[in-house]
């Protein structure tokens, strides 16, 4: 006999005080959340050969910046980048345009600062350097614990080289 039926029979016969705690679905989520939590704030050292003017690296950085994932990505896939992870699932990209405007952005959001002419406005003026940009993308919490910016290296969403490609794209001089 199904346990729910037993419970209701017992209830109907008045043998048991109503207790529905066993009838109700209450799946555990705490384990799922625990495994999913963000690791501690991490300061990274930018690799020596990180920033490059290699057009292919910049193209990969741009592609990651402007696209959400391998399934939704538009335009030609740059050399050295995949649309899928080894497990066959769509590779996630940065979707940075969701929050940042930049040269050539389509439908950009405004939650983060506008990154147009970043080289002229921030790097050349000395307001920022490459390492700052690298760290900001890797783990933005170092100088802003409450940031709304995504965390990209501590979460292992991207590897160091990919962060370097994205950084190279942002600090590059655009046409």
């Amino acid at each position: 006999m199904k346990s729910s039926l037993i419970v209701s029979l017992l209830l109907a016969s008045g043998l048991m005080a109503a207790d529905y705690s066993k009838v109700v679905e209450q799946p555990d989520a705490s384990e799922i959340i625990k495994k999913d939590l963000l690791g501690p704030v991490t300061t990274y050292k930018m690799p020596a050969d990180c920033i490059t003017d290699d057009a292919k690296a910049i193209a990969r950085g741009a592609y990651i910046f402007h696209n959400l994932n391998g399934d939704k990505a538009k335009g030609d896939l740059p050399e050295g980048l995949s649309k899928k992870n080894p497990d066959g699932k769509a590779k996630q990209y940065g979707n940075c345009v969701a929050c940042h405007n930049i040269e050539g952005a389509k439908g950009a959001g405004n939650i983060g600062p506008d990154l147009h002419a970043y080289h002229a406005n921030f790097i050349k003026t000395g307001a920022r350097d490459n390492a700052f940009v690298f760290q900001k993308i890797a783990d933005a919490r170092v100088d802003n614990a409450d940031t709304k910016m995504t965390i990209n290296l501590t979460t292992k969403l991207f590897n160091e080289r990919e962060i370097c490609d994205i950084t190279s794209y942002i600090v590059s001089i655009k046409k």
């Binding site: 199904k2 729910s4 039926l5 419970v7 209701s8 029979l9 209830l11 109907a12 109503a18 207790d19 529905y20 705690s21 009838v23 109700v24 679905e25 209450q26 799946p27 555990d28 989520a29 705490s30 799922i32 959340i33 495994k35 999913d36 939590l37 963000l38 996630q92 345009v97 969701a98 929050c99 439908g107 950009a108 959001g109 405004n110 939650i111 709304k148 995504t150 965390i151 990209n152 501590t154 979460t155 969403l157």
Partner: protein, 257 residues
């Protein structure tokens, strides 16, 4: 126009909206259609089917009132106060979980929380409270206080592939900013009043969607691991978000992008 034809038309239009607004927010044409659809919400038939399911499984409004130990007149007010702690469940429950108990009390195997049947039946039940102000009481007892606190914590917990939390996009200072082309809504404002307008027909999914299911949508989009319907944390989130809509008039089914 016959109601069934109107509904078919609305459904057809809805699938177009789904395609058009995937990338961009509503155009003027979309807005006009939205107004039209609000008059003929495609979810109306699903609510009707939910009413039949309640009849068959709980004895309709009268059976539900009996289960909740209130008169039929008091039923709308009672429903407007969910999620709430119920002694017979020994926990804070949403309407859907309460209905699992009510089905069982009536000798029926409860619908699962994620089933179409439960979505329809619980949506109908919430619509019984249409016109009532949301009246959740997070100070009613320590269970409600704990559920609220867990919801608040879960709302602020950064996690997932991008290290985001609900707060990243739904904190007071994020409201009105643009994510891609979508404005970030104030979940408690009169024009959104999320808890009073979900379950809703979600045009981008062409489906009746509950509040907890909507939370799962944001988790999926923002790469947070999706947690199951009915879990303590989900009910906590529902309590937390419902408190923001407290006092606002319930209007089910809503119609959302």
């Amino acid at each position: 126009m016959k109601k069934s034809i109107k509904i078919a038309l609305a459904l057809l239009l809805a699938s177009n909206v789904a395609m058009a607004s995937d990338q961009f927010s509503m155009s003027e044409a979309d807005k006009a259609m939205y107004a039209e659809m609000l008059e003929n919400n495609p979810a109306d038939i699903m609510i009707e089917s939910g009413s039949e399911l309640l009849e068959a499984n709980v004895g309709g409004n009268a059976g539900l009132a009996k289960f909740l130990k209130v008169s039929e007149d008091e039923l709308p007010k009672m429903i407007a106060s969910f999620p709430r702690y119920m002694e017979e469940f020994k926990m804070v429950v949403g309407l859907d979980q309460m209905l699992q108990g009510a089905m069982s009390a009536n000798g029926h195997k409860p619908f699962t929380l994620k089933s179409k049947e439960m979505f329809e039946m619980s949506s109908y039940v919430k619509s019984i409270a249409n016109g009532e102000p949301m009246s959740i009481d997070i100070h009613a007892n320590k269970h409600m206080e704990e559920a609220y606190a867990l919801g608040e914590k879960t709302f602020a917990q950064k996690r997932g592939g991008r290290g985001l939390s609900c707060m990243s996009c739904h904190s007071p200072d994020a409201i009105g900013m643009l994510l891609r082309t979508q404005g970030l809504p104030d979940l408690g404002a009169p024009e959104t009043k999320a808890a009073a307008t979900w379950p809703a027909y979600r045009m981008t999914k062409s489906a009746l969607t509950t509040l907890q299911k909507r939370f799962q949508g944001c988790m999926e989009n923002a790469l947070l691991a999706v947690i199951p319907l009915g879990s303590k944390e989900m009910v906590g989130l529902e309590v937390y978000v419902t408190e923001k809509s407290k006092g606002h008039t319930i209007a089910i089914p809503g119609l959302k992008r």
